[in-house]
């Protein structure tokens, strides 16, 4: 991470590239290096500000040509790429990256929200797809989920958060040594939460990954499912592990 603090040599980037690297090493160790390729500079300024406040290092490129250059030459943990860009368009950048063997996770931002568009984006090599307009919390949660995914690339069969344990092979869940009986969907829900333990997962992420449907529920369905799960894993135990993150979603961690 030491190289992160090094400011770029003057003139080493082409005009139009707005580079901003944190001049200090992040103390938390959770910070990621993120490249944001987005031509709406106002939106990208907000995003960069929010992500930096969350402890990440953010580079911003406002057109496809510069973005592609940065993505190919620098190392990032996550790339956030707008689909429609001046210069080189977003999907072409992703195709090029994948063709050159870069496996960096990519979150596609797009105003095109049809299932077809999403499928095309993911086919081009995108790892996640976020339709505009989105909540910042949604963007942050997805970026962090993507960054984490690479960190734990090999398949895990056991998860442990505090005294809550899950065995994927035996399909058992125990808390403080006591077996907890879960319905299949509750098991998948907890599985997802445990894989992203410590991170924020949004309701949309849960719908997409646990139920595998892209749709807008008119009611807070997920909350009801979470509260059922809480009944089983948190009610009779301490500390509570499923936390509600206001304005964002949920997070599985011991309350601090």
């Amino acid at each position: 991470m030491a190289s992160l603090g090094k400011p770029p040599a003057a003139g080493s980037w082409r005009a139009g590239v707005f580079l901003d690297t944190l001049a200090f090493e992040l103390s938390t160790g959770t910070g990621m290096r993120i490249l944001l390729i987005e031509d709406d500079t106002e939106a990208s300024a907000y995003m960069a500000k929010g992500l930096r406040e969350a402890g990440h290092t953010v580079d911003v490129a406002d057109d496809g040509t510069d973005g592609q250059f940065l993505a190919l030459t620098e190392r990032y943990d996550v790339l956030v790429i707008d689909r429609m860009l001046p210069g080189v368009d977003g999907l072409s950048i992703i195709t090029r990256l994948r063709a050159e063997g870069h496996a960096t996770p990519v979150l596609i931002l797009s105003a095109l929200g049809k299932v077809d568009d999403r499928v095309r984006g993911l086919k081009a090599g995108g790892d996640d797809y976020l339709v505009k307009p989105y909540a910042f919390a949604e963007l942050q949660a997805r970026i962090e989920a993507l960054g984490r995914r690479v960190a734990s690339n090999q398949p895990e069969t056991r998860f442990k958060v505090e005294d809550l344990e899950m065995d994927l092979l035996a399909r058992t869940v125990t808390r403080a040594g006591k077996t907890i009986d879960l319905q299949p969907r509750e098991f998948r829900l907890l599985d997802y939460l445990m894989r992203h333990a410590g991170q924020v997962v949004t309701r949309t992420m849960l719908l997409e990954n646990v139920w595998e449907y892209h749709f807008d529920p008119q009611t807070n369905l997920i909350d009801v499912h979470i509260s059922r799960l809480r009944q089983k894993i948190d009610r009779d135990f301490d500390p509570p592990l499923i936390q509600t993150v206001r304005g964002a979603g949920y997070s599985l961690r011991a309350h601090r």
Binding site: Y213, D216, L221, G247
Partner: protein, 465 residues
């Protein structure tokens, strides 16, 4: 329509073209008939002459020149009008018998046939032509037998007359028929063109008239009218939506605006400002939800057969949607039950269809009273695969069942429950995209919404009214 226009009309030019071709073939046919008749008549005259000459020749071989002369004289007497002519000359060129005054000057052709003019009739004043044949007898005498072509000529002329008049009449009828036909067709095309212009000028309700003849024009007019109905429906939809968006989004936008306005006016502490911001964000989010729903509906409505469909097991969707809503139903004290059949398969966009089912189940649970019962089911019916969401809630009065499918329509008693009036509009859009029939029925009590996916093999079958 002016005559000048009529002559420019495609149909009239077509009619003229056909008439031209018809006339050329008629003239060719008539020429052939005329020529054939002429050849036939000549042949008949020659036959007559040869038969006569044959008889006379027999007589000559039996009784010699004297007997022949007697018979020729006798025949000549029988023919005062000279329809058949005879002349017998001896070797010295003296006339022995016959009704001709002299041997004709005209030279005979290779077969001995000769044509020459004579006078005919009772007083021999009618000019006519004779076709005759000269025979040389062994003792140097010569016999000429001929037959008048006068009658044959009259027949020929009569035939030619008939042909010419027939042709003239045909041409006249063709022109008149072409004029009437093209006038009729042009009039109908003109009527259609007039209707189209009226529509272009802004009267979307104008439609083409049907003659009831069930011809191609009626078919065209019917297709056109159906197309206009669809366009009118879409335009009307867009207009209603625009009006509704203006109305339904202005209210929350205004609320949003005044909230910010008021917050800026007072000297508020950071905590209350934060609270205002959070409420504003929640309101903006709910606006976005409405917007997204509108967008999904219009995208779905624009969807065509090009839309990405995949084989979907509707039972899976039914079980998933029931599972998703079951905790919510339980919280409300509503029993949610799923019924499916195995082995069902439909071509669908599973995300959109799931959204539609979710909207229906959401409504069903929302409007069912505690202790109510919601059933979601997938099954096969004679019409195809049916997906049904039925509840025991208050239902929808029959007169409102069509209306509630429109955007932003909320019944008065729904005002107290949250919702944006777009849920059923999306269901209808999804049904249309999948060419599924959507019916809202009385569940006695409650509402039963049914989506029937017609079977693929019936999809291409023409619909007959």
């Amino acid at each position: 329509m002016r005559t000048a226009d009529l002559f420019h009309a495609t149909t009239f030019r077509l009619a003229l073209g056909y008439l031209g071709i018809f006339m050329v073939s008629a003239v060719a046919l008539l020429g052939l008939v005329s020529w054939t008749t002429s050849v036939f008549i000549d042949w008949q005259v020659q036959e007559t002459v040869e038969a006569e000459a044959g008889g006379l020749s027999e007589l000559y071989s039996e009784g010699g020149l004297v007997k022949l002369a007697g018979r020729v004289a006798e025949r000549a007497r029988d023919e005062p009008e000279r329809r058949t002519v005879y002349l017998l000359q001896d070797a010295k060129g003296r006339a022995l018998a016959g009704n001709l005054y002299g041997w004709p000057d005209a030279a005979p052709d290779a077969e001995g046939w000769v044509r020459f003019p004579i006078g005919q009739g009772g007083d021999l004043t009618v000019a006519a032509e004779v076709l005759g044949h000269a025979y040389d007898l062994p003792d140097g005498a010569r016999l000429l037998v001929g037959h008048s072509l006068f009658d044959a000529k009259r027949v020929k002329m009569a035939i030619n007359h008939a042909l010419v008049w027939g042709l003239a009449l045909t041409t006249l009828l063709g022109v008149i028929g072409g004029y009437i036909a093209s006038h009729h067709l042009v009039a109908r095309v003109e009527a259609m063109s007039r209707t189209a212009r009226t529509i272009l000028e802004g009267d979307m309700t104008s439609r083409m008239g049907l003659t009831g003849a069930h011809d191609e024009f009626d078919q065209l007019a019917r297709s056109f009218n159906e197309m206009m109905d669809e366009i009118e429906r879409l335009v009307e939809g867009i207009r209603t939506v625009t009006d509704n968006i203006a109305h339904d989004l202005r209210t929350p936008l205004n609320r949003l605006r005044s909230r910010i306005d008021v917050a800026l006016l007072g000297e508020s502490d950071p905590a209350s400002l934060r609270a205002v911001l959070e409420r504003t964000l929640a309101e903006a989010d709910s606006l976005l939800v409405t917007f997204n729903a509108l967008l999904t509906i219009s995208q779905t409505e624009q969807g065509s057969r090009l839309h990405r469909f995949e084989p979907v097991d509707p039972a899976r969707l039914i079980l998933d949607v029931a599972e998703l809503y079951e905790p919510l139903a339980e919280e409300k004290g509503v029993r949610l039950e799923a019924r499916t059949e195995p082995g069902l398969i439909i071509a669908a966009d599973r995300h959109l269809l799931f959204q539609a089912l979710a909207n229906l189940v959401d409504n069903a649970v929302k409007y069912s009273p505690g202790g109510g019962h919601v059933t979601v089911s997938a099954g096969i019916t004679p019409d195809g695969v049916a997906l049904t969401v039925a509840d025991t809630g208050p239902g929808i009065p029959e007169e409102d069942r069509e209306r509630v499918l429109d955007r932003f329509v909320r019944l008065d008693r729904q005002r107290s429950t949250p919702g944006n009036g777009l849920g059923l509009s999306l269901v209808r859009a999804v049904a249309r995209l999948h060419r599924a029939t959507l019916t809202l029925a009385d569940n006695r009590p409650g509402l039963a919404v049914r989506l029937v996916f017609t079977r693929a093999d019936e999809e291409g079958a023409p619909r007959r009214p």
